[in-house]
């Protein structure tokens, strides 16, 4: 399922992009999830699923370094995101882009400026090159005509796609998406699903998404990681189809309403 390019030299590709080791997440003294161990493989689409409030978005916040783990590590190529010097942290951050749940476009700027800001901060490009890059990234998500619009003028789905364009600004190898299909109609959801697969196919982007939408999990995810609300740890990791057939009972229950293909 995990399609690798033919020109691969095995060693580099076999190395996972991210390795999560014994991660325990807590708010104050309340453990949200404990002892998470998994890796994010190159060019896979990994879906993080589970009931509301089980800690999916919290896990995402740990993966991108917005929240400190209570225990354990998030390793990018062997380097700990949460315990490294500022310079390393800055380079590690360049390796992923993030789309937040409602897009989180900076409302005081136009869509184009939103995409150009990371470039202005972290790339040596001059103004004209930045604009070209931004227009190109917006074209990738099908929004090239929205360059001069304010984020408020966009629909929910367009906002999310613009946010993906912004996340892609610095050409990250990994894209984190927080609930890409929440609040979207089925058509927009399908469009986003296709976008994810296209990005993976054409740019080789690895995609990790937190989602509630079982249809999307079956449509795009190579693997699904199930966070259990009651046991407070991950209880399954594997292809959605396998989990729907032979996973633990609560995982099967969760994935049951998905279409079987």
């Amino acid at each position: 399922m995990n399609a690798l390019p033919s020109t691969t030299d095995g060693a580099a590709w076999a190395e996972p992009l991210v390795r999560v080791v014994g991660l325990t997440m807590a708010f104050g003294g309340d453990v949200v999830q404990r002892d998470l161990d998994f890796e994010i493989r190159r060019r896979e689409v990994l879906a993080i699923v589970g009931a509301s409030g089980c800690g999916k978005s919290t896990l995402l916040r740990h993966l991108i370094g917005l929240q400190e783990p209570a225990a354990g590590q998030v390793l990018y190529g062997g380097q700990d995101l949460h315990h490294c010097d500022d310079e390393t942290l800055a380079t590690l951050r360049r390796r992923f882009g993030v789309m937040f749940q409602a897009g989180a476009l900076w409302s005081s700027m136009t869509v184009g400026e939103n995409v150009m800001l990371p470039l202005r901060m972290f790339s040596p490009l001059d103004r004209r090159e930045r604009e070209l890059q931004a227009r190109f990234k917006l074209a990738l998500v099908g929004l090239d005509e929205a360059f001069d619009l304010e984020p408020a003028a966009l629909s929910g789905g367009m906002r999310k796609r613009a946010a993906i364009a912004r996340a892609l600004a610095l050409d990250p190898e990994l894209l984190y998406l927080d609930e890409p299909s929440s609040g979207l109609d089925p058509f927009s959801t399908r469009r986003l699903d296709e976008l994810m697969l296209n990005l993976r196919q054409h740019l080789g982007t690895t995609v990790v998404m937190v989602t509630h939408t079982i249809d999307s999990v079956f449509a795009v995810a190579d693997r699904a990681l199930f966070l259990d609300h009651q046991e407070k740890t991950m209880t399954a990791l594997g292809s959605p189809h396998d989990l729907a057939e032979g996973g633990p009972p609560r995982v099967r229950e969760f994935l049951r309403r998905g279409p079987r293909r």
Partner: protein, 326 residues
């Protein structure tokens, strides 16, 4: 347990709730309750509301623990620590700025400059004009009793330049600008825009707080000087019109009373108040909760905090400068 409803003649919308109140505790204890025999509509609604015999109750969020005085003290203490940490971070960011390593958005600075400065002029003019007017009018009434009307100029000049211009400008900016800072930044927080900055490695203090603080610090001395000028001139009409002080004498005495010490103390204190307004607004915005209601609360808190800080700073600095003999 079996329900016998054969004698039930009529039922209404209250029947199912009444039965539910009786039966739900039984069902929870695992007692089998058979609702057959009830009218269909009552039975259907009842079955829907009653917990299933083997249901696991949903875990409800725990009530926020500990009310009362101790809790309030602890919260206040934590809030004070947070504020101290925030001010420390701002100072660090200022240090980075001086060393040219802060990521600051100068277009934002320009926009804030415009919002805080020129846009505040009308309301600053109005309030300080009225303050000067009042001060001259009331001060004159007292001084007239000892025939010292010419000293109205001294009262107005010292009062306005040293204390009131800064105070009033601070209060106005707290309502006009501090609240806007909290609302802007709080909305960004609720919309995860702050997280989007942090995920990129852009420090929100550098990027959002510094331009606002610097804009406020830039306009503060100018606004205060302008407010003082308006206030002093506003003392002229009552002095001349009511107490018969010649206008040339009023202005001359004003210039006499206006020493450098009064001027710099007035500018210093006012600038300090305005910096506090900016800090309170930004801090409350950054600490806002994640929903729309929290943004409103942050805005209110920002204004209240700014006013309290201003009054505390005003008293402390007045005592300090008096004891220094300035």
């Amino acid at each position: 347990m079996q329900l016998d409803a054969t004698t039930l003649a009529a039922w209404d919308a209250g029947t199912a709730p009444a039965l539910w109140r009786l039966l739900a505790p039984l069902r929870r204890q695992g007692v089998l309750v058979d609702t057959h025999g009830l009218p269909d509509a009552v039975r259907a609604a009842l079955e829907l509301a009653l917990p299933a015999a083997d249901a696991v109750p949903d875990e409800l969020p725990a009530e926020p623990g500990g009310g009362g005085f101790l809790h309030a003290v602890r919260r206040g203490w934590r809030d004070a620590l947070d504020t101290a940490a925030f001010i420390g971070e701002v100072l660090l960011a200022l240090g980075r700025l001086v060393r040219g390593r802060a990521v600051i958005r100068w277009s934002d600075y320009a926009r804030q400059l415009d919002q805080t400065g020129p846009m505040s002029l009308p309301i600053v003019s109005l309030t300080c004009f009225l303050i000067g007017l009042m001060l001259a009018y009331m001060g004159g009434a007292q001084l007239e009793r000892i025939g010292a009307q010419t000293f109205i100029a001294d009262v107005v000049t010292v009062g306005v330049v040293r204390e009131l211009a800064g105070l009033m400008t601070g209060v106005i900016l707290a309502g006009r600008v501090g609240a806007a800072f909290a609302a802007q930044i709080g909305t960004m927080k609720a919309n995860e825009e702050i997280d989007a900055l942090r995920a990129l490695g852009i420090d929100p203090i550098d990027y959002l707080v510094l331009p606002r603080l610097l804009a406020m610090l830039t306009v503060a001395p100018l606004l205060i000087a302008y407010a003082a000028l308006v206030g002093v001139l506003a003392g002229l009409p009552p002095a001349v019109g009511i107490y018969g002080v010649p206008s040339f004498e009023y202005l001359h005495k004003c210039l006499d009373a206006l020493t450098w010490t009064h001027l710099w103390i007035g500018l210093f204190k006012g600038t300090m108040y305005i910096a506090l307004v900016a800090l309170a607004g930004c801090r409350e915005g950054l600490h806002a909760g994640r929903d729309a209601q929290a943004v409103g609360a942050a805005t209110t808190t920002a204004v209240v905090k700014a006013l309290v800080w201003i009054v505390v700073a005003a008293s402390a600095s007045t005592v300090l400068f008096q004891s220094l003999g300035l």
